[in-house]
């Protein structure tokens, strides 16, 4: 995966380094106010790592105890932290496309699902999780190229519908004519992923004696997440990434500067598909099962959009908060049985919708925006200025 991205960065012609970039850099530094944080590559990675270490403990154990105290099962379970991170990886990439480049794709399930299916099929030959991830993301990348090549030619709703169409075509293929390959509607469950390092570390083996949410699978996912954060951070800090953002702000200006807009947009599309592919393969390894409805149906693409917007499109890790809230509501709140209201069950989408409306209404910049506002407010009390918002926001991320 990193190879692809490195190539992408290398593909950036040297001539782009000149006045163009300084210009866009100035615009964005003034515009988003995130420039200070962006410089600190190592800080972002270390902060994310710290959050990843405490995340399962908070989600499963602490919330589990709180749930026992209030008599409602609001705790997570062993598989949930990994699931959140997997979606987190996908939406980090998705946000590079939506939040930075300003392209709304409604067909990212195609990359997610095709990566999952190709990882599943590959596992029949070589049951190695790492190779499955590589194969899955490779297939997603190869698929993204032609789909992007056709779709990028149109913008706005036409682009969204084109990507949606490609995704749905794959969905119907997997369900019907491709059933010999995908096992159709019965879902693909013959997945063989024996463990990391030639099966030496089984994925379900516990890492810590008492905390059973810390499994090898979680560590594997967390490492992939760290790589995703690091790569994402590198991209948006690079001149290349700044062009993405410039494209999101004003495509015409970028064109007038003399850059090949089509090529940059295509590359943003492909990069986000690589993230979706990594996520898809990881999802398969985690679930050991894939079904066309999960892998390829348009609702899955819509879920990526909701997670991203809910979390906040203006920052690198913002969407991960969206992925967390989405999966938490879907998998935990849906099983809650509050005293007066009764079982939530299928009402979970209603709950999620309410949360979504609230967040988008009150905090247009999503959950991350809300957290950074909160941080700014707290820091403002202790004498911080406008610029204090960035570190405060990251603190919010850690304690989450």
């Amino acid at each position: 995966m990193t190879d692809d991205l490195d190539r992408a960065e290398e593909a950036d012609p040297v001539t782009d380094g000149g006045s163009t970039v300084t210009e866009t850099e100035r615009t964005s530094a003034g515009g988003s106010g995130l420039a200070g944080l962006r410089e600190r590559d190592d800080f972002v990675v270390i902060a994310t790592a710290a959050a990843l270490v405490v995340f399962p403990f908070l989600l499963v154990d602490v919330l589990g105890v709180v749930g026992d105290l209030i008599g409602m099962s609001i705790g997570g379970y062993a598989g949930l932290p990994s699931l959140v991170l997997i979606y987190g990886i996908i939406v980090i990439g998705f946000n590079l496309l939506l939040g930075y480049t300003g392209l709304l794709s409604f067909g990212h399930a195609a990359f997610f699902g095709s990566a999952a299916y190709s990882a599943a099929l590959f596992s029949q030959i070589v049951p190695s999780p790492i190779l499955m991830v590589i194969v899955g993301s490779l297939v997603a990348t190869l698929l993204a190229w032609p789909i992007g090549f056709v779709s990028i030619r149109r913008s706005g709703v036409y682009f969204a519908v084109l990507t949606l169409t490609f995704g749905q075509a794959l969905y119907f293929y997997a369900l019907g004519p491709g059933a010999w390959l995908t096992n159709g509607d019965n879902g693909f469950s013959d997945v063989a992923a024996h463990g990391l390092f030639l099966g030496a570390l089984p994925l379900d083996a516990p890492l810590l004696p008492v905390f059973d949410s810390y499994t090898v699978m979680y560590a594997f996912t967390a490492v992939m997440m760290l790589i995703a954060v690091w790569v994402g951070n590198r991209i948006i800090n690079s001149p290349y990434g700044l062009i993405f953002e410039a494209l999101g702000e004003n495509e015409q200006r970028v064109e007038f500067v003399g850059l090949n807009v089509f090529r940059y947009k295509l590359m943003a599309f492909v990069i986000s598909a690589v993230f979706a592919g990594v996520g898809g393969a990881m999802f398969l390894i985690h679930e050991q099962y894939i079904h066309p409805t999960t892998g390829l149906y348009w609702i899955q693409s819509g879920d990526f959009v909701i997670m991203t917007v809910l979390g906040g499109t203006g920052s690198l890790i913002g969407p991960v908060f969206g992925a967390f809230v989405f999966e938490y509501v879907a998998n935990v709140i849906s099983g809650v049985n509050p005293p007066v209201i009764g079982p939530i069950g299928s009402l979970w989408r209603f709950v999620l919708g309410a949360v979504f409306v609230f967040i988008v209404w009150v905090f247009p910049r999503g959950i991350y925006g809300a957290l950074s506002d909160l941080g700014a407010w707290l820091l403002g009390r202790s004498g911080g200025g406008d610029d204090g918002s960035d570190p405060a926001a990251t603190d919010g991320g850690e304690s989450e």
């Binding site: 403990f57 499963v60 154990d61 602490v62 589990g64 105890v65 709180v66 026992d68 105290l69 099962s73 705790g75 997570g76 379970y77 062993a78 598989g79 949930l80 699931l83 369900l175 019907g176 159709g184 509607d185 019965n186 879902g187 469950s189 994925l203 379900d204 083996a205 516990p206 008492v210 905390f211 059973d212 499994t215 699978m217 390894i285 985690h286 679930e287 050991q288 099962y289 894939i290 079904h291 409805t293 999960t294 879907a330 998998n331 935990v332 849906s334 099983g335 049985n337 079982p343 069950g345 299928s346 979970w348 989408r349």
Partner: protein, 451 residues
Amino acid sequence: MARDTRPMNRRDVLKASGAAGAAGIAGLAGCAGVGGGGGSEYPAIGNYPVEGDEVVFGYNVPQSGSYSQEGQDELRGYRLAEQHLNNGGGWVDDWSDLSGDGVLGKTVTSVEGDTATNPDTARQSAQRMIDRDNAIMISGGSSSAVAIAVQSLCQEEKVQFQCCITHSNDTTGPECVRYSFREMFNAYMTGQALAPVVAEEYGDDLNFYQLYADYSWGQTQQASMEQFLTEAGWSQIESVPTPLGTSDYSSYLSDVPRDEADALILNHYGLDGANSLPQAIEQGLDQDMEVIVPLYNRLMAEAAADSIGGIFGTADWNWKLENSASQSFVEAYQQEHDRVPSYGARIAYAQTLQYAAAAERAGTFYPPEVIRAMEGYEYDNAGLGSETMRGCDHQGQRDVLVMRGLPPEEQTEDSLLELVSTTSRDNLGYGCDSGPAADCELGDYGDEDSG
């Protein structure tokens, strides 16, 4: 992903240390329950051993999606079963295995989940029940794709799955697993039971045309209808797939060749059937040909009440059956809900009790022993006469009811169908080496290496 199966008490310790770790906000609240059932004679597997005084069942049913109404009725059946297991009543009083005092001395509690008629949602919901809530048994279904997805998860996790409504041949055919049992009949048996009846009623040499819901159940359902109607001397014109969850069937229905076809078979269920059948009648297809609905359910019969008069189909069970088990279940259910149960409620009820009874017979919740107590078990107390839970593919061998819709003027709220005939299990089914069972490999019990 598969979960580890290390010795007991881990989760209780976990809760306790979670409490401690959370800087004392919880004190020692997590410690309750440690120390129940210490002297277990079997190694830990899945969610065995069961700690504390309670045993958790997971009810994983569609609360949204095409089959949501089925799901509601299944839930009513599950809750009734739970109530009877804990406090007596209903079948529990008549089954010698059950005491009305919980199961193996433990009170039954439950968790519920929404499958959304989506296999992956169902798996995640079941995963939560297994990982967090320590469910020892999961039951559910009402879409064969869902049942198949969840039963494969349960096999990995070594947690028992009791199929509720799932009628696809694949469930106990190529996709069968050791940890899942199905009492409901399947599409193959529907074909066997229905074909002779309709052939006798409508004549021998007819041409039939099929529409089917394009997923696991619909596919095996239409294949079985083709096989047995062809054996009965009919010939198929065409069989056309429709996507699951279609609401407008008019284009499919207008493609039916009216002058050529003598019979139209609608392999649709739940909301799909409730849409396709009335639309077929509206288009006047019943004037030109016989309409057959292989698998009836109440939602469909209610929604299509004006259209079902004289239409043949099969059903799992009917509240009008005159055996004591059926009547005592109807009575208990009516007391709770003020109307008669659908067959979904009976299967849900029966599956929960079957599991509890098997655990009592085995004398333990140890899953391999519970499975062995159920394999090959003969019983006649579930409202359908003599039944066998066959060991080779975990498919129940039982009678199948052929039903016919009542004309609208004879219908009441609870009585929409009439029983035409009961096909005895001796005339149904297939050997362990033929039909869907030929493709079934059950997989392991999970105690092979230790035993």
